[in-house]
Symmetry: C2
Subunit: 465 residues, 2 copies
Amino acid sequence: MIHLASIFQGGLAPDIVDSSLLATAPSSENASMVLAGVLLSLVFIYLASKLGGELSRLVDLPPVLGELVAGVVVGVSALHLLVFPETGAVAGDSVVMTILQKIAGLNPESIQEVFTAQSEVISVLAEIGVIILLFEIGLESDLRELQKVGSRAAVVAVVGVVAPFVAGTVGLVLVFGMPTIPAVFAGAALTATSIGITSKVLSELGQLKSTEGQIIVGAAVIDDVLGIIVLAVVASLAKTGEVDVVNLIYLIISATAFLLGSIFLGKFFNKSFVAIAEKLQTRGKLVIPALIFAFSMAFLANAIHLEAILGAFAAGLVLDETDKRKELDQQVIPIADILVPIFFVSVGARVDLSVLNPTSADNRQGLVIAAFLIVVAIIGKLITGWAIVGKEPINRLAIGIGMIPRGEVGLVFAGIGAASGVLDKPLQAAIIIMVILTTFVAPPLLRFAFKAESELVEEPVAVDS
Amino acid sequence: MIHLASIFQGGLAPDIVDSSLLATAPSSENASMVLAGVLLSLVFIYLASKLGGELSRLVDLPPVLGELVAGVVVGVSALHLLVFPETGAVAGDSVVMTILQKIAGLNPESIQEVFTAQSEVISVLAEIGVIILLFEIGLESDLRELQKVGSRAAVVAVVGVVAPFVAGTVGLVLVFGMPTIPAVFAGAALTATSIGITSKVLSELGQLKSTEGQIIVGAAVIDDVLGIIVLAVVASLAKTGEVDVVNLIYLIISATAFLLGSIFLGKFFNKSFVAIAEKLQTRGKLVIPALIFAFSMAFLANAIHLEAILGAFAAGLVLDETDKRKELDQQVIPIADILVPIFFVSVGARVDLSVLNPTSADNRQGLVIAAFLIVVAIIGKLITGWAIVGKEPINRLAIGIGMIPRGEVGLVFAGIGAASGVLDKPLQAAIIIMVILTTFVAPPLLRFAFKAESELVEEPVAVDS
């Protein structure tokens, strides 16, 4: 009877029915609470994304910037409506959990379990959101167009990885007198562009299919792969003091094989996909096979130690080659609409603005290093536009700006560096500040770069009329 | 340095980049593995749902039956591609986890953590799936039509709760010589129709908007509320030996207030919803406000100890009254297409067919009781069609059959009964078998009942020609 009593401690029995579905374990009430927590979190996320996105649009900025800022507002830095255990939060820090606690009167252990599970669900939903985003970007990209800009994208990617890495590492050693290993680590954190943020902004500006847009997306994909290789090198350096060459070769081969394999697959698989989709009769006959393919590719990319989003992007590229493209595009839109905001609001919510507080000495030192890293991060990517040879008219400024946002990979470097003890507090804070600033500064600048160009183009017309 | 080493135990560093997004905690590799597990599980779920649904359609049965059966095949009873900790499974029982283990070489503790988190995510996705399903059903239902059939639906619901409850309880006491409390518990488990399964079949048959369809949905909603009240009564009986009257009154008042409140809300809220949706300009301008409303109502229903799906259904009913209905309908379809199958496949996957194995003595005794419960469960609901007074032509057989599937609530009774020690093994097994059989037998019978009717209608035409 003890079990039953503990289940019913909330005072009202029917909690158990709510949402535990077929659960027969005594943790049914927790399962119901996890669902309640997820629902409430999604309501806050959607409210934030719409408020932020619409306000951003009113002042003529890309909506995704508003979603990121709204994420910061509801996140760990301000309202605490959406907090995550990885940033050090416990159940008591979460407004959602406080509300659930008031409703159900759970004991502290249960509420901590519910908080962990709820955060896990929201995190995975955010990750599926960015997977769907990259799948959609792949669907909107054209493989032939990408191949056309391939060499230029590769130049942009390589310059955009090498320049900030070298300038950052050398500068930290020479100017700040830092030891080599932390300097290399911080330099590496400057390398990888956040493909999610940059491609979303491009899509919002209607520039995804422009030559500049395709170069940026292609370069972001390549530099993501380069970033993973750099991380492997730096991590093995930090761990053993030398580079694990076997691992490095494995990684380079598997990444190349995956990307080339996807393109090859695109040539013969798209016909069988259409044939299968046309035979199906039940609901979801197009979108379910498409997601089976996208999620399989994402899993495969993850399994061979690339990023899941690269697999989803490749899947989108392959399916873009089929006759079903437009129909699929239509159906993916609402799915992306409900999943992608979870990603951007979560990114904002995890940003801890307390690293900007200058009253702490660590932060002050961090702010100085951050100023240096930000300059290197911005200039190191800005120049990539001018690294493209050839005299064709191309918006080099837009390409350079498009590569600026660092986002998630930079924070992963900071996290690993902190966990391994390679990075001290000020350097870690500096990397986080660099990531925040490059992420938030790029969307409005990118809009400006494309707008400046279109005004230049429009001006002669105005003179004519 | 220990932290870094343990992160990299997989042998290959870049795991950490994959999917941990902005995580700065050292559990990044686990986060990446949880995502990988969820992706692989979704691939298996989608494959099963499409294979099962299409095969079912080929042999002229409702697709949802195929999805349920495919769920059983991939679940704990056969392939173990999709198993849940609540059914007693550990990481080693899960094929998905075995695959991840081979890829990443995690230690046993990590893999168990990953398994728990992955199962939690899939469970919540399944729950969100049934919430979206009921939201869609609400959107497709017409509040005025439902009000028209209201009194008939209420009769069907009350008869369908009272008849099996009384017959089941009395039969178990008189025929099987069972003590009162377990008999009452088992009788209560016979009461609540699974609104998810029955409304999905109706929708597939194109009968959701027929008078019969609306009566069944209306009755299922009412009997869900009655089921929750019965559960509260039975649970407090089992716990203290007497009925908690205060709780009971609270529950009846809150359920009534919620349902009437939703209808009232529908009259004035729908205009403001349209006004808001028309002002928005960014992506998801219709579907995001709709989901904010649906998830808020689901959360509210959950918070006042009703089922979350009732809130989603009410939200769908309210939004069905707006001018945006058709556009919203269109956009909800792909979202439902990708989420609803997760629910049905999971329901199938959790069914443990080993309770049907007659070599165990408990099972043999259970099978005898089950045979009795199944007869009561089917007849108790079948008669509801004939409980409707009036002489208008109405497919009474279809209504009775539509109320047969028990699904999740019945299993919740079995789970609570087992946890509290009220139900012994044979009785518990009997309830589970009753739920399985009523769930699987209803879809083809319902199809038959509607088909028989349409053939009767068509025959005179055939004679004429």
